[in-house]
């Protein structure tokens, strides 16, 4: 076995695993607060990449891509607030009887709407913002500067997210809502407002991933689909609703794909994560950090 190649695979897997975990974190965060799956996460990733591209090309220029990133995330956060308020809030105010089905239908409809809107507004073609940085070497791995920037950017965003969740009042309220929605309402917290914030933050994380990966994965209407698949794989591996699970799941997925590439073939890279997922579903259906749901 070529050790250099093996180490390159593992490093490449870890890098992309960390970046995908940002997507997974968004999915799991929304689920843990709102108890719903957002099937349109890939489209928020896509919107983030489009906004980033437009801002770089028209306002900030290639050198100041880092200024575009918070604006792209902020605008998707606002979009998330509006969508939550208009389309998802009715689930929690007694109007909708079958919440899970409603959430599934609404988010799949959003997925189709956003994809087609992207085609209408931007055309079906691919776009690419200028590179964020020159190529670097990470240990043995020759790496695109964009991917390295995405890695650092993801680490910073994950750090900020954890800081807010662990140390601020709103973070404590969100953790409380994740544990017990009724309990936190009895403490006087407006849980509907928390839902809005959670949805906004979740989709903004996806948009951040899209914006960071835009130069590497290009900007086009379907660029979020693979990231969504990976995100869902990660949360099933790590455990639905677990923040730690989405981080560990991302790293694990990256390493498994890398090892599969080393010992079997890189051609089937995307298959190995699904094999891990099947094994986990058989032996630990709740994922690595997930807990069995308690029902009365």
């Amino acid at each position: 076995m070529d050790l250099t190649l093996a180490s390159q695979y593992v490093l490449a897997g870890l890098v992309i695993g960390v970046i995908y975990s940002l997507m997974a974190l968004g999915i799991t965060f929304i689920y843990s607060i709102m108890k719903m799956i957002n099937w349109a996460m890939g489209e928020f990733f896509m919107i983030g990449s489009y906004v980033q591209y437009v801002l770089i090309v028209t306002v900030f220029g290639g050198a100041r891509w880092w200024l575009a990133l918070p604006v792209a995330m902020g605008s998707v956060f606002l979009l998330g607030l509006v969508i939550q308020r208009l389309l998802l809030r009715p689930m929690y105010v007694g109007v909708i009887e079958r919440r899970d089905e409603y959430a599934t239908i609404v988010t799949i409809a959003l997925m189709i709407l956003f994809r087609n809107l992207a085609i209408v507004l931007g055309g079906p073609n691919q776009y690419a913002p200028p590179d964020y940085a020159r190529p670097v070497t990470l240990g043995t791995l020759p790496l695109s500067g964009n991917r390295f920037v995405a890695l650092i950017g993801t680490a910073v965003l994950l750090g900020l997210f954890l800081l807010v969740i662990k140390t601020t009042w709103i973070g404590r309220a969100l953790r409380g809502a994740a544990q017990n929605r009724v309990g936190i309402q009895t403490a006087g917290v407006d849980v509907l407002r928390l839902d809005m914030i959670a949805f906004g933050v979740g989709v903004a994380l996806a948009a951040g991933a899209g914006a960071l990966l835009a130069p590497d994965f290009l900007v086009y209407p379907e660029n979020g689909s693979i990231s969504t698949f990976k995100g869902f794989e990660i949360i099933v591996i790590g455990g639905l609703g677990s923040i730690a699970g989405s981080l560990v799941g991302g790293l694990l997925l990256g390493v498994i794909e890398a090892l599969g590439s080393v010992f079997i073939s890189a051609a089937y890279k995307d298959l190995y994560g699904f094999l891990l997922l099947i094994v986990l579903l058989v032996f630990r259906p709740t994922g690595l950090f997930g807990e069995r749901e308690r029902t009365a």
Partner: protein, 406 residues
């Protein structure tokens, strides 16, 4: 007396209705347009940029045919449908065009996997389908009555790059191919023929799913194998992603890359890749330096005037195919499918770069007409397609292949 008056009134009314039917309705029937379908990828995961160019060509041809009197005195109306590069959408589009729109023919097929589904329906509904840029050999190998192709077939493409590989002296050939009829067909043909065409050569082929966006592990594997050349067989976004990421892992431009079709001829190529697109070689079927016959030249001038850029092959071919349908119907003096097929097989038609004729040859050369194939290379960033030199085959060469500067 009253009865007689009523009968007379009825007769007058019937005559009036008859006159109206003859005088008013008949011309309106004669004016009914001849519908031609354009079924092509206009959204992802299909190569939507290619579809847009194909639609441009088809529309220009419809305008020109209509300006010259139309088909059998009737106007052409194009019905454009998006197949999204997926067989299921292609089938739905073909079904609609054949049954609801009742088109006389369908042009614009680009993805071989889509065409494989569409041509079955074309046979069922007896609507001739023209392959504009779908090149899998299996499509004409089935010997279907209503499938016609005016594009290269994959074995010819493989023969072309085998010759080029031999001329360049490459021995270790790596392929990155998408898991479609196109990609897999090219890999299989190359596996079969490379050894005999280039004695002593070795081949490493990696097939990927076309939804994949991260090719880093595959490209690292190829890099560690130390190839002499990399064949990039992606269509749409993957062709750019492979080019970009091959550069990022240090494979390109040190290892020369040959892109399997003419995507780099489009303006979006440099926008997507910047300097990472430099030194790529790619297969084309048209180059602005080619001398074109009257029909092709007229289209080229019109296209440049309208879009302020050089037309791309897909537009040329769609233009020629709409003309082909019009000429064949005019020759047959009928739009019945069987008459149209007979006329297509019997006649010689003016194409964009020569005379098109169809024969029912052996294997994939069934109702097949093949345009020229060339390999060109970009040697500096932002180089225009017009300035790119033809590096192969030797009889058309306008420049030599250039290695990347270290």
């Amino acid at each position: 007396m009253k009865v007689r008056r009523n009968v007379a009134l009825l007769v007058v009314l019937l005559i009036a209705v008859g006159l109206m039917a003859g005088g008013l309705w008949a011309p309106s029937l004669a004016q009914k347009p001849v519908k031609i379908g354009v079924l092509t990828p206009l959204s992802p995961p299909g190569d939507a940029a290619a579809g847009q160019l194909i639609v441009r060509g088809a529309k220009a041809a419809a305008d020109d045919v209509n300006a010259r009197g139309g088909i059998l005195g009737r106007k052409i109306e194009l019905v454009v449908e998006d197949d999204s590069g997926t067989p299921e959408k292609g089938s739905a589009g073909m079904r609609k065009l054949a049954t609801q729109d009742q088109v006389v023919a369908v042009v614009g097929q680009f993805h071989s996997s889509v065409t494989a589904a569409v041509q079955v329906l074309a046979e069922q509904f007896q609507v001739p389908v023209f392959l504009t840029q779908a090149s899998a050999k299996s499509l004409t190998e089935k010997h279907l009555n209503y499938t016609f192709r005016t594009h290269v077939i994959d074995p010819d493409r493989v023969t072309m790059w085998n010759r080029w590989i031999k001329e360049r002296g490459y021995k270790r050939v790596a392929i990155m191919a998408e898991n479609t009829d196109y990609g897999i067909g090219l890999v299989e043909d190359t596996k079969k023929t490379l050894g005999s065409a280039v004695p002593g050569s070795e081949l490493k082929a990696i097939v990927f799913d076309r939804a994949v966006v991260d090719f880093t592990p595959q490209l690292l594997e190829i890099k560690s194998w130390k190839p002499d050349v990399l064949l990039n067989i992606g269509i749409g976004a993957p062709v750019y992603l492979i080019s970009k990421q091959a550069w990022d892992v240090g494979l390109s431009p040190a290892v020369p890359m040959l892109i399997s079709y003419d995507a780099p001829a489009r303006a979006e190529y440099w926008k997507n890749l910047g300097e990472k697109g430099n030194f790529a070689s790619f297969i084309v079927y048209y180059h602005p330096s080619m001398k074109l016959p009257a029909r092709g030249d007229a289209f080229r001038k019109k296209y440049i005037e309208q879009f302020k850029e050089e037309p791309i092959y897909g537009a040329f071919n769609a233009y020629a195919q709409v003309w082909l349908v019009a000429d064949a119907i005019n020759a047959a003096k009928s739009e019945k499918p069987e008459d149209l097929v007979k006329a297509l097989l019997a006649g010689k038609f003016e194409g964009w770069n020569g005379t098109i004729s169809f024969t029912r040859g052996e294997g994939p050369y069934w109702q097949q007409w093949t345009p020229p194939m060339l390999i060109v290379q970009y040697t500096k960033p932002e180089m225009s397609f017009t300035d790119a030199k033809i590096i192969f085959p030797p009889e058309f060469k306008t420049g030599d292949w250039m290695p990347a500067k270290p």
